[in-house]
Symmetry: C2
Subunit: 368 residues, 2 copies
C-alpha cells in the first residue's frame, strides 16, 4: 500500500473521524483508525461500535491497500508534520512508514481485516436539513438529556419528523427541552431515539452553514450523510415518554421577562446557592417584579427583575443551574414563563406565540 | 465602614491580589482578602505569608473601616455584577452588604485585625527596570527552576545586579537558564534568590509595556513596586551554585542551526520518545546536517535538520522535553549549540556573540 497525502487534508479527516474513538475501549483495534483505498479515493474510518464516522479524501494512490493506524500517536504526528506531501507506505507486515522531505517515521499498524464494518443503511427517504439548523436544534436541547444509564432510552434525544415538521426532544427527571423546525414535506412519520453523545458529535462535525445534509433512518441505525463524511449511529431502544402530554396547555400565571436580566440575576443567586444543597433559588413573583433569592451558610442574595405579570402572584423554587441551562439555550431577548401552581412545572416559551421552542422545568418543593 | 466602588476597578484589583492566595491554606483568614480604607484610597491585600500583594484603588469612602472578605465567593460575585456602582457596607459584626440597583448580597466577613501585616521594606536603592524586560527575563528562565522541595534554594531564581547588568539564573539538576539585561548603573552589588512562584506571579501582573517598576531588596524580602500595586515576596535562604563556573567557556564543536526547524523536528521526535523512558532523543551531528532520532515500543523516527558545523562530528543524547523548553524560550531565528564531548553539557547561545542568554543542558549518557 502506498499513498501520497496532503498533510492538511489528512489532518482534517483525522480530526473528524477521531470523534468516534472512545477513550476507554476494551478492543485494541478500536483505538485505531482504518485507512483504506477505495478505487481513486481514500476512506478514513473510526468507530466505537455505537458511533461510526467515515470520511473520504483525495490523495495520490500509488498502490491500493488498507491498514489500521494507532490513532493517538498517528494524529499527534500528522498534526506536527509541516504542510506538504506525506508519503505513506505500508508493508505486508502492516509496518507503516511516513516520509516527508526531512522526516521518516515508522509505526506498527494492524491488519485492516480485523476492523469492524460500519453498518450499511439503504439511502431511502432522506430527511434533508440545513447544517446550521440541525446544529442549533441539537445544541439547544442536548443539555437536557439524562445521564442516568439505568434508563438508557433517556440518554438519547427523541427525533421526530411528521409532514414538514422536525422536532428534537430531550428530557431527564426534572426538565424537558423541545425544539421544532421545518423541513421538506414527508409522506411517512419518523420517531426514533438517537444517543445524546452521537448527536453531540454530529453537531461538532457539521458547520454553521446553510449547506444541506441528509438524515436516513434505518432499522436500528441512523445515518447523517454530509457528502464527504458519513456519521452512523446506533439508535436507542425503549419507550420514550409522550412528552407532549407533560407540557401543560394552560397556565394561570404568565410572566414576560428580559432573558438577559433574568439570566444574570440567576447566575449571581447560583453563586450563593451552590454552597448549599440542590442549587436552590426562590422566585417570588409580584405585580411588576420578580424577586429572586437564595441563601446558604456563606450568605444570602436578593435580586429584583422587572416583569410584566398576567395572573396572580406566586412563590416557587427551582434548581438554579437547571434554570440557567434553559436561559442559555434561548436566543430571544424576551421570553414568557408560564406557571399554574408552585408544584406544577414552569414552561418557558417564545413571547410571540411561535412554537419553535418549549422548555419545561419542575419546581423544587420547599416549605416557603 | 461604607464605600462606593466602581465594579470594574474593584474587579481589576481583586484579580491582581488574588494571585497571592494559596488554594490550600491552613489559616482560614488567609482565604480572605483585606479591604481597608487608608485616608482617601482603599487598600486591597492578599497574602499566603510567602508572597503578599497590595493594590490601591480610588473609591468613594463614606465611612472609614476595614474587613476581610471571603475571597472566592467575593470575586465570583463581583465578576458577575453589572458595571456601575457597588455600595459596600460593613457593620460592627463584620457583616458585609453589597448593593447595586437590583441586587443585595450579604456575606459574613472577618475582623481585619486578625489579618497579618505585610512586611514593610525601606525603599532605598531601588533597581529600576521596564516591565516588559523583567517579564521577558522571568518567562525565559523560570521553566528551569527546580521542583524539588528538598533543596528549597533551587526552587528559586538567582537575581543579580552588578554595575549596569541585571541577571536572572535558574537551575535544576539537569539544566541552567541565564538571561541578562541592562539597568541603570548601581554602586552596590545585589545577589538574592527569589521564589520561582513569586516571580511567576510578578510576570503575570506586570504588563508588556516600557513603564518602569522598582525592585527593592530588603533583609529577607524583595518588593516589586509598580506604583499602584506592590508585590512583596520572601527571599529564599541558602547557597546558590556559582553558576558561571559550570558554563564551559570553550567548545570544540559548534553547530549553527535554524531554531524553528530544530524545534519542530524535536517536537516530532518527542512524540515517539514520550512513550519510552526519559524522553530520550539522540543527535547525530554530521558534516552538514544533524540527524535526530528516537524510538520506543510504538515505533521510531528519523529527522534531518540542516546545520553549519565547526569541529568534529558527534553523537549525543538528551531529554527531548528539556531541549524543547530551551528552544521555546529563545526569540532568535538562528542559534549556536556548543559541544565538547558527549558527556559534557550542550550550551545554547546567540549566534552573534551577544550575551543576553545562555542555556545549558546536560546530556543523557547512553551506550550509543
Amino acid at each position: 500500500m502506498k499513498i501520497v497525502f496532503s498533510q492538511r487534508k489528512l489532518l482534517d479527516s483525522i480530526n473528524i473521524v477521531q470523534r468516534a474513538i472512545s477513550p476507554r475501549t476494551t478492543l485494541p483495534i478500536l483505538e485505531g483508525i482504518l485507512i483504506a483505498t477505495e478505487k481513486d479515493v481514500v476512506k478514513i474510518v473510526a468507530t466505537d461500535l455505537q458511533l461510526g464516522i467515515e470520511t473520504f479524501i483525495d490523495a495520490k494512490i500509488i498502490e491500493q491497500g488498507s491498514v489500521v493506524v494507532p490513532s493517538r500517536i498517528f494524529s499527534d504526528i500528522i498534526r506536527r508534520l509541516p504542510e506538504g506531501d506525506i508519503e505513506f507506505t505500508v508493508d505486508s507486515g502492516y509496518k507503516i512508514e511516513m516520509k516527508t522531505f526531512n522526516s521518516v517515521i515508522n509505526l506498527q499498524g494492524l491488519d485492516a481485516r480485523e476492523y469492524p464494518e460500519l453498518e450499511r443503511i439503504e439511502e431511502i427517504n432522506p430527511i434533508e436539513i440545513e447544517e446550521r439548523i440541525l446544529k442549533d436544534m441539537i445544541n439547544r436541547t442536548i443539555f437536557s438529556v439524562s445521564v442516568d444509564e439505568t434508563r438508557p432510552v433517556y440518554t438519547g434525544a427523541l427525533f421526530e419528523q411528521e409532514e414538514d415538521n422536525i422536532t428534537i426532544a430531550c428530557l431527564d427527571g426534572y426538565r424537558l427541552a423541545v425544539r421544532k423546525d421545518k423541513t421538506d414535506m414527508s409522506a411517512q412519520r419518523t420517531e426514533v431515539v438517537i444517543p445524546g453523545k452521537s448527536l453531540d458529535e454530529v453537531s461538532k462535525i457539521i458547520g454553521n452553514t446553510d449547506k444541506k445534509l441528509s438524515i436516513i433512518i434505518g432499522e436500528k441505525h441512523v445515518l447523517f450523510d454530509l457528502g464527504y463524511t458519513r456519521i452512523i449511529s446506533r439508535l436507542l431502544e425503549g419507550d420514550f415518554l409522550s412528552y407532549r402530554q407533560i407540557i401543560p396547555q394552560d397556565y394561570s400565571i404568565r410572566v414576560k421577562v428580559d432573558t438577559h436580566l433574568l439570566q444574570s440575576s440567576i447566575e449571581r443567586a447560583c453563586l450563593i446557592a451552590r454552597e448549599g444543597e440542590n442549587n436552590l433559588i426562590k422566585f417570588s413573583i409580584k405585580e411588576d417584579k420578580m424577586v429572586i433569592t437564595s441563601n446558604s451558610e456563606i450568605g444570602n442574595i436578593f435580586e429584583e427583575v422587572p416583569i410584566l405579570l398576567e395572573g396572580n402572584e406566586l412563590d416557587i423554587a427551582f434548581n438554579g443551574r437547571y434554570f440557567l441551562d434553559i436561559l442559555k439555550a434561548i436566543e430571544d431577548d424576551e421570553i414568557c414563563l408560564d406557571f399554574t401552581t408552585n408544584i406544577n412545572p414552569c414552561v418557558v416559551r417564545p413571547l410571540d406565540g411561535r412554537e419553535d421552542y418549549t422548555y419545561l422545568l419542575l419546581p423544587v418543593r420547599v416549605f416557603i
